[in-house]
Symmetry: C2
Subunit: 141 residues, 2 copies
DNA sequence: TGTCCTATTTGGAATAATTCCAATTCCAAG
DNA sequence: CTTGGAATTGGAATTATTCCAAATAGGACA
């Protein structure tokens, strides 16, 4: 029950949903894993160009969308700013620092998650819940 | 400690932050209160035109932004879809029905809200938290 | 190995929501 | 009245993203 190494798990997940493994998908995914600072598509694009100089922005968007479908990556939205991408698979909330714009992952204990889900009245069936804080961060770490 | 009637409270809030009361702001606000279905700016624009035929879309955006500053209205974002506006001042989460696109307010008991806020490590000071469910709704009401 | 078929990538155009801007218009105070 | 700042207006600009049609790339199979 160890997590698979990234490349393994990517190839596996792609195969699971009938998609191919490609250099573009691999590079985009490993870039997300390398620097987990919730980059935008444009930022990922800039970063992967050194590895794959001919990659296009459209492909970066495609790959990111594919990774989201594979459930290896979460798309995160703050207000109207560009979508950011996050390869953290543990249940977590996001904290958006209003001064710096930085985003932090906040682990969500199962107990809290289940209490949150209990606020839903009968007839509401949630497939996902997203919790987003905004404020000022001065993290110890 | 009764809530003030809407117009009162709007004029009050505007005055508090040094802004004027205008027909546009009043009409936009009362339209939000009249049909609380989380309309987009375009939808508000369409609805207020009968009352104020010369109002412009830019003004609707301005007014909505002003109401948000007054803290009489919350801006709600789902993924990348257009911002929706919500005049519900009670602490609540949003439930986004993936089939119909409809949005429901879900009351948040203070206990849940405070438990959610407790997941924040030291050094994280949240000014607001937004909880969004996605899924399928078949509400009793 | 070569061929074919389809998935994928690519670049550029198109779209959609929102913001910007400069020119009026509107008030409210003096 | 006049005047100064606030607010509104219409249209242009911006930004993130999606769309699209053409080119490329891989894998299956003869």
């Amino acid at each position: 029950m160890q997590p698979l190494p990234p490349a393994e798990s990517l190839n596996q997940r792609l195969a699971d949903i009938g998609l191919r493994s490609t250099p573009q998908r691999e590079v985009v995914y490993s870039e997300l894993l390398r620097k987990r600072d919730h980059p935008t598509a444009e930022e990922v694009f800039a970063r992967v160009k050194s590895e794959l100089p001919t990659i296009s922005l459209a492909t970066v968007y495609n790959c990111l969308e594919t990774l989201v479908q594979c459930e290896l990556v979460r798309a995160v939205n703050f207000e109207r700013s560009p979508t950011r991408y996050c390869p953290n698979l543990r249940p977590h909330a996001h904290f958006h620092d209003e001064q710096t714009g930085r985003t932090y992952d906040i682990d969500l204990p199962p107990a809290v998650l289940s209490e949150v889900n209990q606020v839903l009245p009968a007839g509401f069936d949630a497939s996902s819940v997203e919790i987003t804080f905004r404020g000022q961060a001065r993290p110890a770490s």
